[in-house]
Amino acid sequence: MAGRAYIAGAFEHPGRYLPEVSLAQLHAEVALGALADAGLALADVDGFLSTPDAPGFGLITLADYLGLDRLVYTDTTETGGSAYLAHVGHAAMAIQVGLCSVVLVTMAGKFSSGLPMPSAYHEAPELGFEIPFGTSIVPEYALAARRHMYEFGTTAAQLAEVKVAASMHARHNPNALLRKAVTVEQVLDSPMIADPLHKLDCCINTDGGGALVVVSEDVARSLDRHCIAIRGHATAIKGSFGGRNDLTNTASVQSGARAYEMAGVGPRDIDYVGLYDSFTITVLEQLEDLGFCEKGKGGPFVESGALRSPDGSLPTNSDGGGLCNNHPGARGGMPKMIEAVRQLRAEATPEVQVRDCRIAMVNGIGGSIGTRMGSGTLVLGSEAV
């Protein structure tokens, strides 16, 4: 084993509406940005991961386009917006078995051009039992929110506080799409999309992307940049498995527990958390499933101001998250990891920088918490190499 793996470079694309930039060019821009941040070059890359929505055939097209002629490891794990967390974990594993030492993870998406459906989507066996009833993504998350309210007494105002906290953070992010603070009342007064979720309970959709460079301990030691330790990682898949629906627990119950175990830490050790905030309810369920509060107590927890950075008890999504900052290609995992790296490097915007930020957790859920989902969890540390 080759020791720990580290995140050496991180880059978030500043664009939010990029119809004139090709998807391949976006991948290139974020790749070059992250490599420059690390002090590395394309020629150093020997591992490459992205999702199957990358332009072309698998990663062959992009590898050729980027000139990555030393690749010994590639991976296109697909769990929606949480996939990039899985990629970082897989990069760490590939590095730890000695397969490679500089691994690029890229994410790019253009909501403005429409999102590609997975190539075998029409073969999904459940389609005939879901589409004819008029389902779609917001109503599915609404089904989970309604059930959470029923079981635990969660209120719409408590869900709204998730958006309020994100909007407070986004005021300080010059790149954020929505930079205006909103109130609980404004969330509740926004149009109802699917009860109980209002328009402002839903994340935004943008173009953009981001990239990370994951390196071996030896490479990390050779770099001038503050490298962030990957202390724990895990993924999980959860569906109804034949009609056993459970809308108030996500796959993060499993991925979170395993990531904590690998890292040797618990919820009390986490100084900052990045959560894929596809909807306000997604944040609430993740907070519970990752043990930051008891199951069912997510509402009162967020209502206490816990999420507000830097002074809340659990500063969360200090860039404004997917609710306000960006949600490139409807895949929100990458920006959450990048902001966590900023926090651990003490390079976040000063107004939201968590003091003495040493351990961060990042969690994402892709797919739908109303049907079937893939979760990824990372535990990251700021300790020296």
Binding site: H122, E123, P125, E126, L127, G128, F129, E130, I131, P132, F133, G134, T135, S136, I137, V138, P139, A142, L143, A144, R146, R147, Y150, P191, M192, I193, A194, D195, P196, L197, S240, F241, G242, G243, R244, N245, L247, T371
Partner: protein, 145 residues
């Protein structure tokens, strides 16, 4: 107050694994997946095997009764992108999970009631919405029992 109205009944995508289910809906028979080995019911009825024990499974007639596990009143239709064009002008409508008496939970619509009167725990019974004539498949929807 929302007025109950007829929901669109788009033709389901019928795959080889689901042809028997949809054929039965023409006769308004409601079939659910059932495992011979472990006696468990499952939904959707898209498998020849049991997703719990891997044993051989087949379709079996179910009571067609259940309770609402969760629901949402869709006010803005987003279904179009997924092939749900028929729902473009159908709002508001109720999308729900119904927990069948046999155990599994299924995605469906609640009809025959003011959407604002729908509650979790409400007892419901299946009814079939014709997608065309008597030889065409019918969608299993639920109304208060």
């Amino acid at each position: 107050m929302s007025t109950p109205h007829e929901l669109p009944a788009p033709t389901p995508l019928i795959a080889p694994h689901s042809a028997e289910f949809w054929a039965a809906t023409c006769e308004e028979r409601f079939l659910v997946g059932h495992c011979h080995a472990c006696d468990q019911w499952f939904w959707p009825p898209t498998r020849s095997f049991c997703p719990r024990c891997g044993g051989a499974a087949s379709l079996r007639e179910a009571a067609g009764t259940g309770t609402i596990y969760s629901y949402t009143i869709v006010r803005v239709s987003g279904a179009i992108a997924l092939g749900g064009e028929a729902y473009k002008d159908a709002v508001p409508y109720v999308l729900a999970y119904v927990e069948l008496t046999e155990g599994p939970t299924m995605l469906t619509n609640i009809v025959g009631v003011d959407p604002d009167g729908v509650t979790i725990g409400l007892q419901v019974r299946v009814e079939f919405s014709r997608t065309g004539g008597s030889q065409d498949p019918a969608l299993p929807r639920f109304r208060p029992a």
